[in-house]
């Protein structure tokens, strides 16, 4: 809708039309053959609407910008907390991994049957898919779901049956739509920060499925926190547990926690920066040759396995949360920048329209006055 006025002298906002005003005007004022329109710097299409509409749009964009910026700051704070949660959980998983290894070594000598490490021929696979709770996080949830789909296709091509345990509202919504063709065992919804209790429910579910031989292998799909800008959905084999306590992913590559680098969100010179810390390989504590087992080694391993499962799942939940929040921070950052750009473009157009309107009115007035002046 182009700007038009009711007066005889039409002012069009289309810059390509050369205006030929009447002679009386030309003598008095600068001819406006071409409205001083430079091509708009960033917008790809012309903004054509009335001044009032532009004003409304401007206020909407300003509001959106404020909201996006607030969300970005909140997410930045959350990333820090999520990273700290991951760091706080490290001593536990490290100590557990080490002890598991040692105890397994000493137990190798006997013929011990550990239910959670039993390797069976795989016919059915359970896949725990960890997605986010809310949206506005860029491509985060989509990446996870796409990876899940591709893994399901792979497994089906190998002729293996697949069960899904979906964690997170976004994944739940997706998989519930896929229900008839895909068997979903359970939907889990988290609230806020992942707690041990949540990890426990998932662990119990997985445990019962595996031990009752309903599934022969359990894999977990979560997003690994690689850096503030990038995150990576990875698939990790939860069960059967490899006797060394080492963690492998679906393709047999080691994704051991002990070999991890992890990132810390800090501030450097007032700007957000990311620090990389390599997990120091602690010196392997020698297993005391006289280590007594208070109970049967089998009982002890039985007690350790649920702990191990729990800590693995909790760590995956925490990393997924950290990636989701980092993705949201990036998305909101981009949104803020876009809003600023849009703001500038709109303000430019608004001012031009406003000025041309003023010029119009001035011309009308002067033309009127001129017309009324008696010809000399």
């Amino acid at each position: 809708m182009s700007c038009t006025s009711n007066s005889v002298f039409r002012v069009s906002s289309n810059p390509s039309i050369n205006l030929k005003p009447s002679i009386s005007i030309e003598t008095k004022f600068n001819p406006f053959h071409q409205l001083p329109y430079s091509s708009k710097p960033t917008s790809r299409f012309q903004i054509k609407c009335t001044i009032r509409k532009i004003r409304e749009r401007l206020s909407t964009v300003k509001n959106t910008q404020k909201i996006a910026e607030a969300m970005k700051l909140v997410s930045a704070a959350k990333v820090r907390r999520a990273q700290e949660a991951v760091i706080n959980g490290r001593p536990f998983s490290e100590a557990l991994a080490r002890m598991l290894y040692h105890i397994n070594e000493s137990v190798q000598l006997e013929d011990v049957d550990v239910p959670l490490a039993s390797v069976r021929t795989v016919r059915k696979v359970a896949l725990v898919v960890i997605t986010g709770e809310r949206g506005l996080c860029g491509g985060f949830n989509n990446a996870v779901i796409r990876k899940a789909e591709s893994r399901i296709q792979e497994l089906q091509k190998l002729g293996l049956d697949c069960t899904i345990i979906s964690v997170g509202k976004k994944g739940n919504a997706y998989f519930s739509r896929r229900m008839p063709s895909l068997f979903v065992d359970r939907f889990v919804e988290g609230e806020g920060f992942p707690t041990v209790k949540e990890a426990q429910t998932i662990a119990d579910d997985v445990f019962s499925l595996f031990v009752s031989e309903q599934v022969d292998k359990v894999e977990m799909l979560y997003t690994k926190f690689v850096s503030l800008i990038s995150s990576d959905p990875v698939i990790q084999t939860l069960l059967p547990i490899s006797p060394k306590g080492k963690v492998v992913d679906a393709y047999g590559n080691s994704v051991d926690a002990l070999e991890d680098e992890f990132f810390r969100l800090t501030t450097k010179e007032g700007k957000l920066a990311v620090e990389r810390l390599k997990v120091g390989k602690r010196s392997e504590l020698e297993l005391h040759p006289l280590l007594e087992f208070e109970q049967d080694p089998v009982q002890i391993i039985d007690a350790m396995m649920p702990l191990y499962l729990n800590s693995q799942i909790l760590r995956a939940l925490q990393e997924s949360l950290a990636s989701e929040v980092a993705a949201r921070m990036n998305a909101m950052n981009n949104a803020t920048e876009n809003a600023v750009e849009l703001n500038t473009a709109l303000t430019m157009v608004y001012n031009r329209k406003r000025q041309s309107k003023i010029t119009e009115e001035l011309l009308e007035i002067v033309a009127g006055a001129e017309a009324l002046r008696p010809l000399d």
């Binding site: 949660a85 001593p91 536990f92 998983s93 100590a95 041990v196 426990q200 007594e292 208070e294 007690a303």
Partner: protein, 106 residues
């Protein structure tokens, strides 16, 4: 000779300092651990851990796990641990009644 006690849960470290002795609830009953205890590995049952510190006994509730007693260093790995001083008896009363009711129904 003091004993270094470390109680770890999956999301935080509950205790990491020196103590004089502890009483640990295991699957086979309660065991007391004093400095220079023989190295032992044991499963921990759901129960109360008593910590002796400067002639005072402190309590901590443990939700089951695993403990390793090394060379004057005890590492306890549990699913959840709560210090006695952090537990509010009023708040805990209601879940207790609910749990007892459930137990009677079962």
């Amino acid at each position: 000779m003091t004993l270094n006690l470390c109680v770890l849960t999956p999301n935080r470290s509950v205790w990491n300092s020196e103590v004089n002795g502890i009483i640990l609830p295991t699957n086979n009953g309660q065991i007391g651990v004093l400095p220079n205890h023989a190295p032992t590995a044991t499963a921990v049952d759901i129960g109360i851990l008593r910590i002796r510190l400067n002639d005072q006994w402190l309590t901590m509730a443990l939700m089951g796990g695993f403990a390793r007693i090394g060379n004057n260093a005890i590492t306890i790995l549990v699913n959840e641990a709560e210090r006695g001083s952090d537990i509010d008896p009023q708040e805990a009363q209601k879940p207790l009644e609910i749990a007892e009711a459930n137990l009677r129904k079962a």
